[in-house]
């Protein structure tokens, strides 16, 4: 068996955690109600955290909890109680960016500390400093190349984590406070308003006409073609961005990257016909145009998205399976409407999708309906191979895109 890095997936909620784990994540990262950078995300209550850690550990996955806000004094006062909970639950590490938070963690617990990408650790000397402060793993800034990451790992002996997929800040992480001054929301305490995705009119002041541009919007990172480089560099963990994203996203990225890594583990290479399928799957989730960012060379002009956010996906999530009654029906939590006769694609936890035509749609009261309603729960006929938490999607007709 060949060595492969850990696949670390986002878990924006308890359900997303279960989805990510079942679809192959080796580890998940999540946030409590406070101290993280996604205040708008569902995040975890204490009970959900307990259940999530139990679920992940039962399935052999690790759990890292984000405490990566730049906390103010009054926030720190509330931290010890949460640290006690995390210690009791035996979470596998916490992800931190602020030295005050690191200090409080060390004072009140023995939790393993990973340095968040929010701290923008970019070079060997920086990693050495954070090692002195007690961190055992560095989540490098997305501006660092894999080659540089290898050097940082070799010269510090620290575990190294890099982003492999997902949205990217255009700024050095932690170095953007646009929301603080324009929206009154602290971007570094979870209130980012994504002002970098806005359109701006740029006045160059040189007799050129002002030009409208989404000049601060970055394309999304996709590192599926860089997996060999990650492995050769000995990068310990490959992180997927996206705690605010859907169950479908969590499922797809976890499944694709875990299958790819499993292939390498077995064969020692990525010379698989499935590579094309994996890439196609990553194009079926909501995403901006993809780039390899700075994984190979520092990101250049081609990494700028420069267009309005839009969702022109050819695939839409139909729902998540809540229950499978063998030989009777499947209970589906509907995310987008579909009608009898639509061809549904079920994403099993591993392997290719299963295609199925839903002949009937019934409500929970067993009443046939001509169309499912988003947000409702419906019954469709039993499909062999379907499991609870499987995602079901549907290809849109050209006219619907």
């Amino acid at each position: 068996m060949n060595w492969t890095p850990e696949l670390l997936s986002p878990a924006g909620s308890l359900e997303k955690l279960k989805v990510a784990v079942l679809y192959g994540a080796d580890a998940v990262y999540l946030g409590g109600q406070k101290f993280g950078l996604r205040q708008a995300s569902d995040n975890f209550t204490a009970q959900e955290l307990r259940e999530g850690v139990e679920f992940a550990h039962e399935h052999g996955s690790l759990v890292y909890v984000v405490l990566n806000s730049f906390l103010h004094d009054k926030d720190l006062e509330e931290l010890p109680e949460f640290l006690a909970l995390l210690s009791e639950l035996k979470v596998d590490a916490v992800i931190v960016s602020d030295l005050g938070v690191i200090t409080e963690i060390q004072k009140h617990s023995n939790l393993v500390i990973h340095l968040s990408t929010q701290a923008s650790c970019l070079n060997v000397e920086s990693a050495k400093l954070w090692k002195k402060m007690g961190v055992t793993r560095i989540v490098l800034g997305r501006e660092v190349t894999i080659k540089e990451a290898k050097k940082i790992k070799e010269e510090t002996g620290l575990e190294i984590e890099m982003f492999v997929h997902g949205s990217m800040c255009m700024a050095f992480s932690g170095n953007c406070v646009i929301s603080n001054y324009t929206q009154g929301r602290d971007s570094n305490r979870g209130g980012c308003a994504h002002s970098c995705r806005f359109e701006y009119s740029i006045d160059m002041q040189n007799n050129e006409e002002a030009k409208k541009a989404y000049f601060m919007s970055s394309k999304d990172l996709e590192g599926i073609r860089m997996l060999t480089e990650f492995i050769e560099a000995g990068i310990n963990s490959l992180k997927v961005e996206g705690r605010n994203k859907s169950h479908y996203y969590a499922a797809t990225v976890s499944k694709v990257y875990s299958e790819a890594l499993a292939y390498f583990k077995a064969h020692g290479n990525f010379l698989s016909d499935d590579l094309i399928r994996w890439e196609e799957e990553l194009r079926k989730i909501s995403h901006r145009d993809y780039t390899t960012g700075s994984l190979d060379e520092y990101a250049d002009e081609s990494s700028i998205y420069n267009q309005r956010e839009s969702d022109d996906n050819k695939y839409v999530v139909t729902g998540v399976i809540l229950e499978v009654k063998e030989n009777e029906h499947i209970l589906l939590e509907v995310r987008s409407a579909f009608v009898p006769g639509d061809s549904l694609e079920i994403m099993p936890f591993s392997g290719p999708t299963l295609t199925h035509i839903a002949s009937t749609i019934k409500t929970i009261a067993n009443i046939s309906v001509p169309k499912s309603k988003p947000g409702s729960v419906v019954k469709v006929p039993y499909i062999a191979g379907a499991e609870r938490f499987n995602i079901i999607r549907r290809k849109l007709a050209e006219a619907q895109i």
């Binding site: 660092v144 990494s303 209970l331 929970i364």
Partner: protein, 403 residues
């Protein structure tokens, strides 16, 4: 309290020296930040230009502080580390650093060189500031604090930390720092060919919010965006002095602001009052603000970002209503791993709007309509319809001993 400002070239250094010579400010009260393009975010000074300033300063003997505030990935960092090691570091009173890598390098290689640590990103707590201070010990000259700290926090830190503290009192507020070149792609192709080595300055206006005129700079280090309003705390110099803030910084590098230098020094020296220099505000190309000096409430909106009522709250949590068929049934997904649902249970239902309802459970069934006495985690069961209950209603068991 020290007066800290920047000098970009020998001319500005000479102007500062004249102000010292003419006793407008004592040399012991002044600090001059100097830099060079490779290691300073906004300096356009060459290494030769910096060396020329250092040579000229042999005569003036102004306290010069070297600025190394760029954030750089390993390959670029190594080049800068080499450059810094070649500079006559003994000529500087201190070095200003932001990247923890630069900090570690200077601490290890130049333990005699005083450090001014820039903590403008985050570091909004006493614990962290103390740890940085302890880490650097006697090598630390000063902590440069974030613009987001309020007067209340500055007061506390100045009173409790043993370290000298510095705050910005006049100048641009940096909002965004990216290593990517974001402006040059917008320029006309024929212009791009000629301006590769030049900085680009522009103004951005949001098409999706009411904010107009963000100053933008693209240079060799990437792209920087500043707030549409500049920081102006010139009315608060005496207050900052009384709080025991060790240094106040006047960033006069942009918009020809260096012309305000004499007024700023006179104000600092209390020869004039803030109301005497209203022309600074009037002539300034942008509006000015006090930022977060009075109060920082940038976390108060967080509670509105999500509905707390749809979160599970306590140990009696049993699950969530996932669908309601009007006048027929409600589907309950049992989420609790530890509690089961039994016939005869009393349930409390909390809707997303916050309404609370109670349901005595006599009968329920599985999704095939088969009656059940008990259901456990992950099962979906059908309950009798109840008016006012909608999907995402949270369901709790009422303990029998509480009934």
């Amino acid at each position: 309290m020290k007066f800290v400002t920047y000098a970009e070239n020998t001319t500005q250094l000479e102007e500062l020296s004249i102000l010292v010579e003419t006793k407008r400010i004592a040399v012991s009260e002044l600090e001059v930040i100097v830099g060079t393009t490779a290691i300073s975010r906004f300096s356009e000074n060459t290494v030769a230009g910096l060396e020329e300033m250092i040579a000229l300063n042999q005569k003036f003997k102004l306290p010069l502080v070297l600025e190394w505030d760029v954030l750089q990935q390993e390959s670029l960092f190594q080049k800068n580390a080499e450059l810094v090691s070649r500079l006559p570091l003994h000529e500087f009173k201190a070095i200003r650093l932001q990247d923890p890598g630069a900090l570690n390098l200077v601490k290890e290689k130049f333990p005699w060189l005083k450090i001014q640590l820039i903590l403008e990103n985050g570091n909004h707590n006493y614990t962290g500031l103390t740890r940085w201070s302890d880490f650097l010990g006697l090598q630390l000259d000063r902590l440069v604090l974030s613009n987001e700290l309020s007067r209340e926090h500055l007061s506390k830190y100045a009173a409790e930390l043993k370290t000298d503290l510095e705050v910005l009192v006049f100048g641009r507020i940096l909002l965004f720092y990216s290593p990517r070149m974001l402006l040059s792609p917008i320029r006309k192709v024929e212009v791009q060919k000629n301006i590769q080595d030049l900085n680009i300055e522009a103004y951005g206006t949001s098409e999706e919010s009411p904010h107009a005129g963000f100053p933008l700079i693209e240079n060799r280090h990437g792209t920087f965006m500043f707030n549409v309003k500049d920081l102006y705390l010139l009315d608060h110099l005496e207050e900052l002095r009384s709080l025991n803030i060790g240094a106040v910084r006047f960033d006069l590098r942009f918009d020809d602001s260096f012309g305000h230098l004499e007024n700023c020094i006179d104000l600092f020296e209390k020869r004039i009052k803030p109301e005497d220099i209203l022309e600074i505000k009037a002539e300034h190309p942008r509006p000015v603000i006090k930022g977060f000096y009075n109060i920082n409430k940038t976390d108060v909106l967080f509670t509105k970002l999500k509905n707390k009522r749809i979160q599970r709250q306590d140990d009696n949590y049993i699950g969530e209503i996932v669908d309601v068929e009007r006048d027929q049934q409600m589907a309950l997904l049992i989420k609790s791993k530890h509690l089961s649902l039994k016939s005869g249970d009393q349930l409390q239902l909390v809707t997303p709007e916050g309404k609370t309802k109670t349901l005595g459970l006599n009968i329920f069934s599985d999704t095939s309509g088969v009656g059940k006495e008990c259901a456990t985690t992950n099962e979906v069961v059908l309950l009798p319809f109840m008016s006012g209950v909608v999907a995402k209603t949270q369901v709790y068991l009422i303990h029998k001993d509480l009934q």
